[in-house]
Amino acid sequence: MLELFTYLANWLAYGLLGLNPDTRVGTSIHFFIEDTTKILFLLVVMIYVIALARASMNLERVRAYIQQKHRLVGYFFGSGFGAITPFCSCSSIPLFLGFTSAGIPLGITMAFLFTSPIINEVAVIMLWSLLGWKFTLAYIVIGMAVGIVGGMILDAMKGERWLKDFAAKAYQKAAVEAQDPGKDIEVPETPKMTMAERHQFARDELKEIVGRIWKWVLIGVGLGAALHGFVPDGWFADNLGSGQWWSVPAAVFAGLPLYSNATGVIPVMESLIAKGLPVGTTLAFCMSTVAASFPEFIMLKQVMTFRLLAMIFVILLANFMVVGWVINAISPWLFSGL
């Protein structure tokens, strides 16, 4: 069904605009039309459908659910809920404090916050349509692993020692209360919603998300289209080497000053991989752009001391590099069809 968008792009670019498919401008514009129409169509349909399903989910229930779990399972759930919970980065401070003051360990809260920007329904839809299900699955596993491992390391280093005072006190108080064996954690009930209320929620959600990300889609696909048309095939392999170890840290540092959300980066990833940049290097670049953003760190400064922030930063960078190296090493058999 998605070939429809290839025909549409053929008709618009080569027919209506009269561009030549053998020129760089021609292929770039074709790529841009095909990807923007396809992505925007899928986004509108899928965001609406998913929002209908999760209309009754709220953070209070998520929190109670995580609290009931054993600590080790908690990392997994923290990261998993980070992936599926709709979440805007301006909510990260209240969420962080809400979790912390309920006695949820810092590492589990951070597993949620690490994974949240990397995985969301928009990213998954785009990856699936542009790079296929194998890659999408690998991306989800890696995104969750980055969150889970990052959170575990943070707890192993007892990162909660370097929370800001008021947050540390709230955490200790809740941790003491949690020792009381008679204390039950109540999961708030699922609010009952009518179909009309779900529709209303999904419509608002659709408006809000598309209103926020359409620019990123255009910029991302625009960059991807330029790469697609103007960078010769195999250019990366010829000029940046094909998977030498240093190309991964280089990609991580290149991604740092860039700040984008997953929506903007994925079309660029598609082109980078098509032009021969190794998959692990591309993923390291993508995660660094999406998950280690300075605006986010400045926000977290309100609840963390500089020392803790620096720890988190180093843990994230190290994780991205390991991801890059591991994927580069195993990608020949993992993505043989890509």
């Binding site: 401070i93 947050a167 709230a170 609840v303």
Partner: protein, 78 residues
């Protein structure tokens, strides 16, 4: 006079929420006081996890989105 607090760490939606409450109050001809709370410790005391949130006379009445006009009118003129 009704006392509103808009809780949020300073994102665009929080500013929007405060402005919307003030506008609706003007339309209804009711004087209200709207204060923006950005201090994370205060927000934590209210136990709010999704912002923007609204507290009316010290009680949280809404969280997670910009409240719509009818809801706000209901707070001002119950």
């Amino acid at each position: 006079m009704k006392h509103f607090e808009v809780l949020g760490t300073g994102c665009k939606k929080c500013i929007n929420t405060a402005e919307t409450i003030e506008r609706v109050a003007r339309e209804l001809g009711q004087p209200v006081e709207v204060v923006k709370i950005t201090d994370p410790a205060k927000i934590m005391e209210y136990q709010v996890m999704s912002t923007p949130a609204v507290a009316l006379d010290g009680k949280v009445v809404h969280s997670g989105s910009i409240p719509d006009r009818d809801t706000i009118a209901g707070w001002i003129n119950p």
